[in-house]
Symmetry: C2
Subunit: 211 residues, 2 copies
Amino acid sequence: MGEARQLGGGDRAVLVALARSAPDLAVDITEVDPAEVPNLLRGGRLDLALVHEYDNVPSALGAGLDLEPLLVEAVHLACPASWNPDREITLGDHAESRWILANPGTLCHSMAVRTCRAHGFEPRVAHHIDDFAAVLRLVAAGAGVALVPHLGVDHLPAGVRLAALPVGRRTRIAYRRGSADQPLFAAVAAELHRAAAAFRADDGIRLDENS
Amino acid sequence: MGEARQLGGGDRAVLVALARSAPDLAVDITEVDPAEVPNLLRGGRLDLALVHEYDNVPSALGAGLDLEPLLVEAVHLACPASWNPDREITLGDHAESRWILANPGTLCHSMAVRTCRAHGFEPRVAHHIDDFAAVLRLVAAGAGVALVPHLGVDHLPAGVRLAALPVGRRTRIAYRRGSADQPLFAAVAAELHRAAAAFRADDGIRLDENS
């Protein structure tokens, strides 16, 4: 397939799997601000995008888009491994901890604040970092605790413990309304579903060799 | 030191080292768009920031800031390990390759375009990704080649070869003019210099266990 298709959005592990599994499909990947995705799709600057929502933060994409479920993953509490190593970690244990949150205005920020409030406390925010790899390195360094979706844990640094919470993140493929049936888009979507299935089969977290 | 100080900017490895080495210094770290850093400093929303410039892309921070050199690192060409494994890789070999660049408007995008042009070719851009970890995973997946600064290679995926180029990236500490002598800021700067020295001693690249 010679024609380049524009794919945008956040789910890097799936994008990488796509690049690996479909080398004969010329897909141009662009990392964009999630807030811009709906308008880029509606304006024809992107053909497909991966969009997220959390159980406690529904997405607000506006009209003119078609959405197709791709995968669901758990959200983990990440805390230093030295923290009460003899027993399970729970969210309620961290009401007094320093927290690392994404920047205000992001889905991840809303999810973390709402999850903590549902457990009866307001997170004491020490750091604002959007990048999950950097968040996990800060957790490993003892700078705080954080909530990260499973796909955000591409590489688990030594010294970090994870506990899955009953909060899910859903990833969906977004198209301009009525365009999902176009053969090239359908081919890209088929590769994305294949990559998501492979991700589900292999949970995708690689442990640091020091852990 | 009880008072929180705001530190912004891009150099995650150094920020993590800071969090690790100075647990008694309450520094709030915020990841911000590099383009916003000068105004956040001038407006008092950040106290210190780490700012970058490349040899071929001088920074344009505007007036009202003081700058202090922190570290210099090499820029690497990253390409799939399967690419001519028997000999050194050079930039000129990749005039026809597919390229992964940062988004237009970033220092990294300008650096890559100028470096390629200085070698007599215009990069054929396949993907626009700002996150270096995602860039390296796409290189490993065979999706293209890229230029990444040394600190961007926190974790080298299996299947990627690096070749240092004669292009450097400089990181500097930026302060509001006249504020560098304030004791709390000086203490944070001293920790950053300690972290940078540790980074120079240990080159900081961890190899994937599969490589």
